[in-house]
């Protein structure tokens, strides 16, 4: 596949949104791969976190949002602590989730009222927090 680069694309709305939500400068990324190297779930990801950042920077919105990378992200912050440029990559992953979740046409939100009785007591609290983050934002 070929990417046609233009200055509008390099400063594309999608990348701007990700930068705005995460508060991170994607141009700062070395593409060193330290995040992917340390990610405990990278083995199951379609592409590593650093590749998602590269796609985003180049304005490849479809490719960036189609991968499972940021959905598998457990927000363990390993990548953030490893990044030599101090980019909070976990926030970038979070921002990518939010970009999708903020789209109006989604109908797969969690409805607490639909939970079965006793479910709330059984599920660990952390699962809720991440669930809310991932599915309610």
């Amino acid at each position: 596949m070929k990417i046609e680069l233009t200055r509008e694309k390099v400063h594309n709305e999608f990348a701007k949104k990700v930068e705005l939500i995460s508060g991170q400068n994607l141009f700062a990324c070395y593409q060193c791969g330290n995040c992917t190297a340390g990610c405990p779930v990278a083995f199951a990801m379609e592409v590593g976190p650093h590749e998602v950042i590269r796609y985003t920077l180049l304005g490849l919105e479809e490719e960036a949002l189609a991968v499972n990378t940021f959905w598998l992200c457990a927000s363990c912050l390993q990548c953030t602590s490893r990044c030599p440029k101090g980019i909070d990559i976990a926030r970038v992953m979070d921002a990518l989730r939010m970009v999708i979740l903020r789209k109006k046409d989604r109908k797969d939100h969690i409805h607490v009222s639909e939970f079965q009785e006793g479910f709330l007591e059984k599920v660990p609290q952390i699962a809720f927090i991440s669930g809310f983050r991932k599915f309610l934002s």
Binding site: M1, K2, I3, E4, L5, V10, F27, A28
Partner: protein
């Protein structure tokens, strides 16, 4: 019979790991005239040298063989050690059992041990016949010549002059400064290049110790370290610089304009002009290939308008002779001839330019007064592509080496561009980013982050014109995807190559160049500013690609080496040179022809050939060539050589 000593070095495990040093020491100790034989882990160390000194003292040794590494490493060390005990240093010889034995025979230990013994026995044969020699003292001319008036030559010249030495500075262009005068701002501090450079140039121009010759070339050099005789050709400027007051009326009124190589084809100069505005010296030159007077005699405007009557149409090239003790070769670089590249469209597509052309655009006194515009239509480029490693790092087709400055100047140019065109986008195709000096990486990362430079890791496959744009096809290996940019302008970071004519100059100086034409240093690490010829020193990009900081450091290093050389008025030289048996020499003159150092000449009065002791390097060419066996090399006589050979066969 001389009493000899043999000292065998283990060199850690370098020798002892392969050669059985103990048995070698024991065997050589049994040789009749060997009064002392010892081995030690590191002979070159202070305790090791102490062993040699004590043995000389206690055993009354009259000759020493040190079996160790190559004589180029420690011959000097051991000769000094024996000298401190009153022994003539030329009675100490090295038997090389490391490079020529243990390192190359690591798998054959027994045979290596035998070979080491033989090497030592052969060297003993040499020492038996060695004469006591004294170093040859040569008086030297305590001044230096500098070839090239760029930042390298300027720095070396100023340092030497400040050190109190007379300096002869030769520049082929009409003004000082070299390529640095073409630059706008320099990385990593973004200081304008010209003001500081011109301050230095003015200092040189009025320095009482510096004899400056611009628009001049080194035509011939004779002599040797300490005593070089230079012939300089001062090219005809057609202007009497002594009279010229630099008013510029001639330039104003000259009707001829030509496309200027200094402006990389983006601007023009008059047929009588300065090299660059505000040049040092601020004196014009008539370019005879462009001047109408020299074409058909139809114009004398400059002569008419000159208030000082300084125009000299009939001026001829002038040759002057100068004597110096040392020479700095600071001949600088050129960009790889971009028009010779089979790709990137340079020369065909007007909006494809090279890095130096962009520097001229950025310069306020340049052809666009500092504005960045497309050469084709004068509009501001909104998308600009930089291609790095153009003709560098391409051993198959162009140059195998890294040109070292391109990564940084490209980042700098992209930054300056972004500051001038905030809504523009620079794309930079690169293979690796090399930012390896103080502050460079920080500058680069800050620029990328703040200015949003898009670095694309990969090379470009096609550059072609398409609907007023320059379309670039390439790859971004980080995503593994092909990329395409419809750019307004393309800047090529072309490889650095040595200046034209360096090979000729080098052969005149008897200095060597590598296969790319860069001058070679005597030793890449230990003697990086000395050439392979004594008295010839190197500075700047003529030796290898380097940026301004490195060039200045190297030039200062060169200057300080020369100051050390010139600090005495006598120079001591190795006496291991050729000599002639006057009773045998028939005066045939064959030796004069074969000598590569012009050290042999005929004495017509006596009808024999003589050796110029200061020039002779002891190479032995004349000895091999002499049909009468009348020449010999001191301490390498044919008797010695034959006896050494007998040991081996």
């Amino acid at each position: 019979m001389k009493r000899l000593g043999v000292f065998i070095c283990h060199c850690g495990v370098n020798i002892a790991g392969t050669v059985d040093v103990k048995s070698v020491a024991e065997k050589t100790g049994r040789v009749e005239d060997v009064a002392h034989s010892a081995d030690y882990i590191y002979m070159c160390s202070e305790p090791g040298q102490q062993i040699i000194r004590e043995a000389i003292r206690e055993r009354g040794l009259e000759g020493v063989v040190v079996a160790c590494c190559s004589p180029s490493m420690h011959e000097n060390t051991f000769r000094k050690a024996v000298k401190s005990e009153g022994m003539n240093p030329y009675l100490c010889e090295i038997a090389n059992i490391r490079e020529q034995c243990s390192w190359v025979h690591q798998k054959e230990k027994t045979k290596a041990t035998e070979k080491a013994e033989e090497i030592i026995l052969a060297t003993l044969e040499k020492v038996r016949e060695n004469e006591k020699l004294e170093a040859i003292s040569v008086s030297i001319n305590r001044s230096a010549g500098v070839i090239g008036g760029g930042i390298a030559g300027m720095t070396a010249a100023l340092d030497l002059a400040e050190g109190g030495y007379e300096v002869l500075l030769i520049e082929k262009e009409q003004a000082l400064g070299g390529h640095m005068t073409q630059l706008s701002k320099t990385f990593p501090d973004l200081h304008p290049a010209l003001p500081d450079l011109l301050a230095k140039a003015r200092e040189i121009e009025r320095h009482p110790k510096i004899d400056l010759h611009c628009y001049s070339e080194m035509e011939d050099v004779k002599g040797y370290v300490g005593n070089f005789e230079l012939t300089i050709r001062k090219k005809a400027t057609s202007v009497d610089w002594g009279r010229c007051n630099g008013c510029g009326l001639c330039i104003r009124d000259c009707p001829v304009e030509y496309v200027s190589p200094f402006e990389r084809g983006l601007g023009v100069r008059k047929a009588i002009d300065l090299l660059y505005p505000g040049s040092v010296p601020q004196k014009p030159v008539i370019r005879r290939d462009h001047c109408r007077y020299f074409h058909d005699g139809s114009c004398r405007k400059c002569e008419e308008v000159c208030p000082e009557k300084a125009i000299r149409f009939d001026q001829q090239d002038e040759r002057i002779g100068k004597k110096v003790g040392a020479i700095v070769v600071a001949t600088g670089f050129e960009l790889y001839p971009t028009e010779q590249l089979g790709e990137y469209g340079y020369g065909e597509i007007p909006d494809v330019i090279d890095g130096l052309a962009l520097e001229r655009m950025f310069s306020v006194d340049g052809p666009t007064q500092g504005r960045i515009i497309r050469p084709s239509d004068g509009t501001v480029p909104k998308e600009i592509v930089f291609i790095q490693c153009v003709a560098s790092r391409d051993p198959d087709r162009y140059m195998p080496y890294c040109s070292r400055i391109c990564c940084m100047y490209t980042a700098k140019q992209a930054k300056i561009y972004k500051e001038q065109v905030p809504d523009g986008q620079p794309y930079i195709f690169y293979m690796d980013i090399r930012a390896d000096a103080k502050g460079y990486e920080e500058f680069l990362q800050k620029t990328i982050e703040e200015k949003g430079l898009l670095y694309l890791r990969g090379r470009v496959s096609r550059v072609f014109q398409d609907d007023g744009k320059v379309r670039i096809l390439g790859v971004d290996t980080l995503t593994g995807k092909m990329v395409e940019v419809a750019a307004d302008m393309v800047v090529l970071a072309t490889a650095i190559v040595p200046s034209q004519g360096v090979k000729d100059l080098a052969s005149k100086l008897r200095a060597t160049v590598d296969r790319h034409g860069f001058l070679t240093e005597a030793h890449i690490k230990l003697y990086p500013v000395e050439s392979s010829t004594k008295g010839i020193y190197l500075a700047g990009c003529g030796q290898s690609p380097k940026d301004i900081s490195d060039t200045v450091s190297q030039a200062s290093a060169t200057a300080s080496k020369i100051q050390a050389l010139l600090s005495t008025d006598q120079l001591l030289q190795d006496p291991l040179i050729a000599f002639v048996d006057e009773n045998i020499c028939s005066g045939c003159g064959i030796c004069v022809e074969v000598c590569p150092y012009e050290a042999r000449e005929m004495n017509s009065r006596r009808g024999i050939s003589v050796v110029h002791s200061a020039l002779c390097q002891g190479c032995g060419a004349c000895i091999a060539a002499c049909p009468n066996f009348a020449c010999e090399l001191r301490n390498s006589s044919s008797v010695q050589t034959l006896r050494m050979l007998e040991t081996f066969v």
